[in-house]
């Protein structure tokens, strides 16, 4: 299998996602998310240059500014204000979750030829995108706090973004921008809801939210 630098950066992003499975500290989780997203921004720029499509550099800039800097910074601010430092998982403890993440990464690597669009030439990246997607879901399911679920969602979204970037001739740019905008506003709204949850329940532990089960 030919490994391009795109595949390499994608693997870096997926590796960071695996590490996130085993980390409980909120600040380090957020830093890893930021770094992972920044790698995707770099991939966007590389592809933009190789396709000779300068407008993709704009997208790379927006991804870096919004998804790699603004969103993690906002979440870090929220965590700081609600004095959240750690999120011990439920169901899986750190070590088991880390192993599960490794398993997902390996499985995705072997699955990559099946989900990749061969003529695009980034077979490895397709598998890494799948790994991000599944690990994002794993993080959402095995964490206690509402904030971590937002984090898991962002990892999942990164996976979709990576797949779209490497397996197509480039999604239409306006739509990519629209997606980034939706994610940004979505995170802001989620932040507002989490602040209010924290204020009225005095915690944001989603496993304790059971008022509506009839």
């Amino acid at each position: 299998m030919h490994i391009s630098e795109v595949d390499l950066f994608a693997a870096g992003a997926a590796f960071l996602a695996v590490l996130m499975c085993g980390v409980a500290g909120m600040p380090s989780l957020l830093r890893m998310l930021a770094l992972q997203t920044a790698l995707l921004g770099v991939i966007t720029a590389i592809l933009g240059l190789s396709w000779n499509a300068p407008h993709y550099l704009w997208l790379a800039g927006v991804v870096l500014a919004v998804k790699a800097i603004a969103i993690p910074a906002y979440l870090a601010h929220a965590a700081h204000r609600m004095q959240i430092r750690r999120d011990e998982g439920i169901m899986l403890n750190g070590m088991v979750a880390l192993l599960a993440g490794c398993g997902i990464l390996i499985a995705s690597y072997f699955l990559s030829p099946f989900i990749a669009v061969a003529p695009m030439g980034h077979v490895g990246a397709a598998g890494m995108a799948l790994a991000l997607l599944v690990i994002g879901m794993l993080v959402m399911m095995t964490r206690r706090l509402a904030l971590s679920q937002v984090l898991g969602f962002l990892v999942l979204e990164n996976g979709i973004f990576l797949y779209g970037l490497t397996q197509t001739h480039g999604m239409p740019l306006v739509i990519e921008m629209g997606v980034v905008f939706d994610v940004l506003v979505g995170v802001l709204v989620a932040g507002v809801v989490i602040f209010r949850l924290n204020r009225s329940f005095e915690h944001i532990d989603v496993t304790q939210l059971r008022g509506l089960r009839h």
Partner: protein, 478 residues
């Protein structure tokens, strides 16, 4: 050009809603403006039905879009008309609700309406996704209007589950682009997709459809992805519940319909049928079973919405687009009336618990009569339009040879009828509750009464020419 006329009034809501000082007169103004908006939407819609409007390469109005545009605007008009009575009355009695909160409701409602228009007008499945996610983001704050713990929990569940669901639809949309690699195209424009579909990679196209169905199916509330729906629809204030149930669910179904057309164009109609017919039939049955044990009036109507989403999905599955339009109209009319009534009752009684509501026919006879009519209509009894659309849908399901699905649907509808009749009769009869609040004026009955009359008319007016018209609307795109 015409379609742009839809924009000014919702934008005005947004602007006025951001100014706190408007709280005193904004509800009444919004109700009035929405009636103007309904006129505009009907005009634009009728033009769209006659000949598709193309605003740009990515936005336009075809027959199905136009039909749902009119339904959506009608729902929003009824909801905001009723909101002009309900929200200020609530505001007077609960000091916790601030002017700002009330204004925010209108600002969000305006953007929500715009986002739904975006979904209906998008002729590009990428824009459709962006607009659909926007509807989730905007309507989540509407759900926690009351700021109660339950409302917050419901809003969180709604925002998270629907965002994850919609993320799958995004993956599906990306796969739609990827599937076009053999043709060298990379377009998400619906008409381009219909044209290139036969030459796409069939495996990726199937994956794309399945992921999109998973995503938009979550948004539509298909069983077993419906989990968030009863919470969000029951905790939102009644006008918002009405819009979520009567308009937003339709938007998700339009998305599924557009994708189904792409698959049919690709010659893979069998997959559409294999997925949608069982999904719809099982949803109807499951919703019927869940309706039996209900303790909450608004949750009951929310589960009933799940049931009707099942019926509408079935209509898409068997390719009965005219029935999709007809039943969506009927369901929206009746369900909005019922949610608005439920909101009024919640306001008057101070509870929506089925155990505590009783004697409505004696307390407020007009509402009692409306509730009886609405219940019969939603359960699909003649002479209401719902009866005819459900009847025709069953006929077509049998005609398509889907006997098992038809059997499940009949069982589900029967259980629903019995369950609804039992719950509602308990509300209607029994001891009249002692109400301390002043008796509601006749204005409170106007919106539900008008909607139910329309639902009656769709039943009485259904004739071969109308069915022919619906068939033309559904077929304009082909």
């Amino acid at each position: 050009m015409n379609a742009l006329l839809l924009l000014p009034i919702p934008i005005l809501f947004l602007i006025l809603g951001l100014i706190r000082q408007t709280a005193r007169w904004l509800p009444a103004l919004a109700a009035g403006l929405m009636i103007v908006q309904l006129g505009i939407a009907c005009w634009v819609g009728v033009i769209g039905v006659c000949a598709p409007i193309t605003t740009s390469a990515d936005f336009g109005l075809d027959g199905v879009g136009a039909a749902f545009l009119i339904i959506t605007t009608l729902v929003a008009t009824a909801a905001l008309f009723h909101a002009a009575l309900l929200l200020p009355a609530e505001r007077r009695e609960t000091p916790e609700i601030s002017d700002r909160q009330l204004c925010q409701f209108y600002a969000l409602a305006g953007v929500f309406l715009l986002a739904m228009y975006g979904v209906l007008l998008a002729q590009n499945l990428g824009y459709l996704w962006v607009a659909m996610e926007a509807t989730t983001i905007v309507s989540a704050p509407l759900v926690f209007y009351h700021r109660s713990r339950h409302a917050l929990e419901a809003a969180w569940k709604y925002l998270l589950l629907c965002s994850v669901g919609i993320a799958f639809a995004l993956f599906g949309t990306v796969l739609l682009v990827a599937a076009q690699y053999p043709t060298g195209a990379a377009s998400l424009r619906w008409h381009d997709l219909l044209a290139v579909a036969p030459h796409c990679d069939p495996r990726l196209l199937r994956l794309a459809f399945i992921f999109c169905l998973l995503g938009y199916g979550t948004k539509a509330g298909l069983f077993p992805l419906h989990n968030w729906l009863p919470d969000a629809h029951s905790e939102a204030p009644a006008p918002a519940s009405a819009m979520l149930s009567g308009a937003l669910l339709n938007c998700a179904l339009v998305a599924i319909w557009r994708l189904a057309q792409v698959m049919i164009a690709a010659g893979d109609g069998a997959l559409v049928r294999q997925m949608l017919v069982p999904a719809g039939a099982i949803t109807v049955l499951a919703a019927g079973v869940m309706l039996v044990r209900q303790h909450d009036l608004k949750r009951m109507w929310a589960y009933s919405s799940v049931e009707h989403v099942g019926l509408l999905t079935l209509a898409i599955g068997i390719g009965a687009t005219p029935l999709l339009l007809l039943h969506a109209l009927n369901h929206s009319l009746v369900k909005v009336a019922l949610f608005l009534l439920a909101g009024s009752m919640l306001h008057l009684y101070g509870t929506k618990s089925l155990q505590k509501l009783s004697g409505l026919l004696r307390t407020v006879p007009a509402w009692g009569v409306l509730l009886v009519a609405g219940t019969f209509a939603i359960a699909g009894s003649p002479p209401f339009g719902t009866f005819l659309s459900e009847w025709l849908l069953l006929r077509d399901t049998f005609g398509a040879g889907e006997y098992l699905a038809a059997g499940l649907v009949i069982t589900g509808l029967t259980i629903t009828f019995v369950a609804l009749a039992t719950h509602v009769s308990r509300i209607l009869f029994g001891q009249a509750a002692t109400i301390t609040k002043p008796a509601p004026t006749a204005a409170w009955s106007v919106a539900p009464a008008v909607l139910l009359t329309l639902a009656l008319l769709t039943g009485l007016a259904l004739s071969p020419p109308v069915m022919h018209l619906l068939a033309t609307i559904g077929g304009v795109v082909r």
